[in-house]
């Protein structure tokens, strides 16, 4: 076909160096055109059958299909995975209706429909059914349908979920007066408001206005926050200072001995200060008690579908809404309020509820610290390998070793990090600088610093390889230009080579960051915990506490999904947390890519 079309010509690529004076821009010649004379199919008539089969193989079409198929499969898997996470993550927080199901035996279930499935009842189950139901199931090839309801009220029922089999259901309704109540403890409560006590006044459930309830609830939340703020910030500060005093005393004991005059003076000071601080305690406790007393006046009595009652303070409620009586905007409001709680609050109830702020914080913090460690280390190593070391057997061996480091299982890095960083270096640091805190370890156990260093070690091969490639790609003419100006080798590297290699180095860092932020296994050994008592960042000097253990989204996913009381309840949280982790990694990468593109723009040859 190509041979029949003499006009079809292939434009030769414009030469790379096409340089003209700026003021004589019209001098460009038309690009040389080369007639495409090759690829003429010369199959003589009569032998086409044989030729065609050869041509088919020679053209390599099956391989094109295989390659395309492999690519499509990969893309499909990624898209499918992302879609699953995205969909489940996005819908989790949307409030569903609460259905009240009346079974044929008279039992009533109230709950959010969680999921439905078809199942095949076992022969024993079939035997117990009445003949009519058995007939229906037989007609459906032995399949029956059932729905899982999230019934809440764990403190009353001792279970979170209940199945309702379709053929046992007599009636399903969505009563408008039923409430979905998220509590600080025991998970959600699903039921009706029996009475509401506001400032000591009792209001029967049917007369409760939603607005009044919400206003009272907001006030109750404010009281709860006030108590929490006193407990965490003020009492926390007092505890912190008492601990500091105790450490100072212990330090004096270690330095001078228990019988010295210094120790006695310090002891006296310690006792005096502790007394003063304890006095502060009492004041704060009084304030808390006052708030609590006020809080006692605002209570609500709830009754579940079976009529059993539960009395609790308004401040113990996180969120309350009439599940079947919500407008679209009301639902959106609940949706975003849940997201807000998830992103900014501390976790509750063994991490299955509440927020993940400490985990977000820990993940970002650890990744940034890791980049701070890995960037200079990797770049300096690569600079030496590429620019200074003489190419030879030794450099080749080093390079092979570096590449193979990337293949070591990450848990091995975790073991190494724990054994070397925490138990060797950390313990040494403790003995040298924090003897007063022993036997409690400071650096001698897993923590943010050691986790970052372990991950830096894990990702350093990526940075080295990328940096080496970036350095190789800097044109020789640039180096020669600099050297010919009388610059030393180091000046050339510093002023010319490194800036030009920067985008490539950034690519390496981005890859390292993506790898590091998603890693969980080694972290479990070197500092990630299920629930960290304190953030590694607070208002006490030196503000950043790299020795503290921390929470991590990756570990959070594992913990919520596989270590919690009820894996069914944790499942939505797994998806939401995964979505969040992926989003955070994507955001950090996007930021790094933005920086890289800005760097790259500097080195792009302008149009002329």
């Amino acid at each position: 076909m190509k041979a029949k079309d003499p006009k079809q010509k292939k434009e030769k690529k414009e030469p790379e160096i096409l340089i003209r004076e700026g003021d004589s821009g019209n001098h460009n010649e038309p690009p040389p055109e080369v007639a495409q004379a090759a690829e003429v199919e010369t199959s003589p008539p009569g032998r086409t059958g044989l030729r065609a089969s050869i041509d088919f193989k020679a053209r390599g079409e099956p391989f094109v299909w295989i390659m395309g198929g492999a690519l499509a499969l990969g893309v499909l898997m990624i898209i499918g995975f992302l879609a699953l996470v995205l969909w489940n993550g996005i819908v989790t927080f949307y409030p569903g209706p609460v259905e009240v199901v009346t079974l044929k035996n008279g039992q009533r279930i109230a709950g959010e429909p969680f999921r439905s499935e078809s199942f095949r009842p076992s022969p024993e189950q079939m035997k117990r059914l009445d003949p009519e139901t058995r007939r229906i199931i037989r007609e459906a090839d032995g399949f029956a349908h059932r729905t899982l309801y999230r019934i809440g009220n764990f403190d009353v029922y001792n279970e979170d979920f209940k199945w309702a089999v379709a053929h046992q259901v007599a009636k399903t309704e969505t009563p408008p007066g039923i409430f979905f109540i998220e509590r600080r403890e025991w998970g959600p409560f699903i039921g009706f408001i029996k009475t509401l006590t506001l400032d000591g006044r009792r209001i029967p459930g049917e007369k409760v206005s939603l607005d009044a309830l919400y206003v009272a609830h907001d006030d109750a939340v404010d009281r709860r926050e006030a108590i929490r703020s006193i407990e965490v910030d003020e009492i926390g500060a007092i505890n912190y200072y008492i601990e500091e005093d105790r450490l100072a005393l212990r330090r004096t004991e270690l330095d001078y001995g228990k019988k010295s005059a210094e120790y006695r003076a310090e002891m006296e000071k310690f006792e005096r200060q502790t007394k003063e601080r304890r006095a502060g305690f009492a004041v704060l406790k009084k304030r808390i008690a006052a708030i609590n007393k006020e809080d006692e006046k605002y209570k609500v009595t709830l009754s579940e579908i079976g009529g059993r009652e539960k009395r609790l303070r308004l401040s113990e409620i996180v969120r309350i809404y009439p599940a079947n009586n919500l407008s679209f905007f009301g639902k959106i409001g609940v949706y975003f309020s849940r997201w807000g709680e998830f992103l900014t609050d501390d976790p509750r109830e063994a991490n299955t509820e509440g927020g993940v702020l400490p985990a977000i914080f820990g993940t970002i913090m650890m990744t940034l610290l890791m980049v701070v460690f890995v960037a200079p280390f990797g770049v300096i190593t690569a600079l030496y390998l590429r620019e200074y070391a003489k190419e030879g057997a030794l450099v080749s061996i080093v390079r092979i070793c570096v590449n193979n480091l990337a293949g070591v299982p990450s848990i091995v890095y975790g073991v190494f990090g724990l054994g070397f960083f925490a138990y060797t270096i950390g313990v040494g640091i403790d003995q040298l600088f924090y003897p007063e805190r022993l036997p409690n370890p400071t650096f001698g156990t897993g923590g943010l610093l050691w986790a970052s260093l372990t991950l830096a070690l894990l990702t350093v091969p990526v940075v080295i390889v990328a940096t080496e490639e970036a350095l190789t790609a800097v044109p020789r003419s640039m180096r020669e230009g600099s050297l010919a100006c009388g610059a030393s080798k180091w000046q050339t590297i510093r002023n010319i080579v490194l800036p030009q290699a920067m985008p490539g180095i950034m690519t390496g860092l981005i890859l390292a960051m993506a790898r590091g932020a998603g890693e969980v296994a080694p972290l479990m050994l070197v500092g990630v915990v299920k629930l960290a008592p304190e953030l590694p960042f607070d208002t006490f000097f030196p503000f950043l506490h790299p020795e503290r253990s921390f929470m991590h989204l990756g570990f959070h996913i594992y913990d919520v999904g596989f270590q919690s009381r009820n894996s069914e309840a944790g499942k939505p949280m797994v998806f939401v947390t995964t979505l969040l982790l992926i989003t955070i990694i994507a955001l950090m990468n996007a930021f790094a890519i933005m920086i890289r593109n800005r760097l790259r723009r500097k080195f792009v040859e302008g149009q002329f």
């Binding site: 160096i17 340089i19 003419s477 640039m478 010919a484 100006c485 002023n495 800036p499």
Partner: protein
Amino acid sequence: MAADAVTTRLQDEFEATAYHPVESALGSVIEIEDFNFWYDEKQALFNNTLKIQKELVTSLIGPSGCGKSTLLRSFNRMNDLIDGIRRDGTIAIEGTDIHNPRVEVIELRKRLGMVFQKPNPFPMSIFENVVYPLRVDGIRDRRLLEETCERSLRDAALWDEVSDRLQDNALGLSGGQQQRLCIARAIASEPEIILMDEPCSALDPIATARIEDLIAQLKEHFSIVIVTHNMQQAARVSDNTAFMFLGRLIEYGETKKIFMNPMNVRTSDYITGRFG
């Protein structure tokens, strides 16, 4: 053409270089004596002996691979960057042997500005490009830098075109402007000699003409050695021409004489286009 035959014939003829350069009133600036050069085992230069005259333009011509670039890059020891090189013989600049261990190669390169075949401005502003040699010397004095920048750009005939955009990225200039910028950079540290390695081979005829004009002006202050493939260019810009072939200096003499009346038969063959 059979290479062996050429080599044999050459060795017969190559008893002595035809040597008839124009002498500068100021004497010679680079004196090369019995200079040999090897890349690993392959010898690239054979017993080169010549004196480059001060404040004249000397062009090195010859077919590809004849060693003219190698010779040029030996003057500022750019060949040191290559692994596995070997050399003997002497190159003296203003009487000092450049291979003397006491000579700092960095200082040497500051005395010889170099312009490359492909314009290689650094990806920084025009200003920073020109003052780069001063920057690496650690000079921070803003006024000195600005003066040097203006003087060098004026000398390189580029000032009028870029004076209003000194802070723009140098990569935005046209190829000819970039090459003149590289010349400005080469003369910013006030060298004695400018080495040019086929400075016009990547440029169009108009840009080439400008560079050639520039060379004519620059020779007032600098000694210039230029490697070129373009014989017309050599004839136009240079006072002396050295013709090299297979690493040997065949003829070194006054440009006019070399092109009108070469003394060696190989030179005349090359110039008349019979080979190369």
